[in-house]
């Protein structure tokens, strides 16, 4: 017999599964758990991976199954759903706060609005944005200053860019709006 509390309990357990590369936030905060279903005692968790090549995806799949099996659920099934594509718009407010506390500037703006301008990307000035132009509103997660700049459009993981603060002089990661 499946009851609502079971469903909520599974979400709560998934909320304790850490992202392997940014362990301060959970995979639920990250917005990659899209659905949890329990039918005839079989639990199916639907995951939408972040970037196509993100190596964390396979670790996450293993961690989800282990986390639920440890709590006594058996026959956990994982489904991967790629459409609609994952977006940073799905990161929870709590997740964004945890990122900032950890020293990673959370994504700014809406990816949904950004994609409308996709066809402009290969085109010339004046619409063109340099990949090193800091997104409006970017703040240093250490001191809160807005005197910041991007130093590299790519960082240590596919989801991040590198930035530095001209006020406190500390470098920091920026979680790209995607």
């Amino acid at each position: 017999m499946v009851t609502a509390p079971v469903h909520e309990q599974i979400w709560a357990w998934l909320g304790e599964v850490e992202d392997p590369e940014i362990p301060v936030i959970s995979i639920v905060d990250l917005g990659i758990v899209r659905d949890v279903r329990v039918d005839d005692g079989i639990c199916t968790v639907t995951i939408t991976p972040t970037y196509s090549g993100c190596p964390a995806t396979e670790v996450i799949a293993r961690d989800v199954v282990q986390a639920l099996e440890r709590r006594g659920l058996h026959g956990v099934r994982l489904e991967t759903r790629i459409a609609p594509a994952w977006t940073t718009d799905w990161i929870s407010d709590d997740g964004k706060r945890k990122l900032r506390d950890y020293g990673i500037a959370p994504p700014l703006g809406s990816a949904a609005e950004q994609t409308i301008r996709l066809d402009q990307i290969g085109r010339g000035a004046p619409r063109r944005r340099s990949p090193l132009e800091a997104p409006p509103g970017l703040e240093c997660p250490h001191c809160g200053s807005t005197q910041v700049r991007l130093t590299s459009p790519f960082g240590s993981t596919p989801c991040k860019a590198l930035a530095r603060c001209d006020a406190c002089l500390e470098p920091f990661d920026y979680f790209k709006c995607h």
Binding site: Y51, S52, G53, I82, A83, W86, G124, S130, L132
Partner: protein
């Protein structure tokens, strides 16, 4: 029809895989740390996309070959990648010119594939396009900076474009595979992408103070049909060594 779709998916998957392999050759020796990271991240996106295309190709084929079998157990003549992406890395200018020519075409292609009648193709394209838009922003910016940079950087990047130009015709060449899938609205006519692509290049080249090579110059073809340059065997020898020497080995 299934064979045509299989062929087409191999073209997409192999192109991403081979370019990813080329970009990985730079890892650890990029001209700057930021460039090293950019190349590695771009390669990672491309290999992720290639996995999705090749997995689907294996399913369509229905002979039990998965992404790994397709990547590691085929010889050069069975590879369907574009000739452009197998070209050697050369100087950093050569690598960036290759990347810009590819990224600008790739984004346009993926835009058409997001409207594919095949839901799986549309979904993969929808996911990949966000990554590729980011690749293009970087490669385009660097072309402008190198072209409108020093005399030497301008000469190197212009030479790189002139050398690679003959491999761009294949991006827009169509054959029977395209025709069959086009008729079923699974893909759009690739030749239709040529004009928008050239328009983008004209803007970029003008801003970079570079000279666009002659669009009607003679073009090399054959990669999509499995006729590759001599580079391909060396590239695969390195990429496939482990699985050839120790079949089925796992990490």
């Amino acid at each position: 029809m299934l064979d045509d779709k299989f062929e087409y998916l191999l073209r997409l998957g192999d192109t991403g895989l081979v370019l990813s392999q080329r970009l990985c050759e730079w890892v650890g020796k990029g001209p700057a740390l930021e460039e090293d990271m950019a190349l590695a991240n771009t390669a990672l996106d491309l290999i992720g996309q290639a996995r999705m295309w090749l997995s689907y190709a294996g399913e369509v084929e229905g002979l039990g070959r998965d992404e790994n079998t397709l990547a590691y157990r085929r010889d050069a003549h069975a590879y369907r990648n574009l000739l452009l992406v197998e070209q050697a890395n050369g100087s950093y200018a050569d690598t960036l010119a290759r990347q810009y020519l590819f990224d600008s075409w790739h984004l346009l292609l993926l835009q058409t594939l997001t409207r594919s009648a095949d839901e799986r193709i549309a979904a993969i394209a929808e996911k990949a396009i966000k990554e590729v838009a980011y690749h293009l922003r970087r490669s385009r910016d660097l072309i402008v900076r190198l072209g409108d940079g020093s005399q030497e950087s301008r000469r190197l990047i212009q030479d790189a474009f002139d050398e690679l130009w003959m491999y761009t015709g294949e991006l827009f060449a169509t054959d029977a595979v395209d025709a069959v899938l086009d008729a079923q609205r699974i893909v759009a006519d690739a030749s239709q992408l040529r004009e928008p692509w050239l328009a983008q290049l004209r803007e970029t080249f003008a801003e970079a103070t570079l000279t666009l090579p002659d669009p009607d110059a003679w073009m090399q073809t054959g990669g999509k049909q499995g006729r590759h340059s001599e580079h391909m065997g060396y590239l695969l020898a390195e990429m496939q060594f482990l699985q050839r020497a120790y079949p089925g080995a796992q990490w």
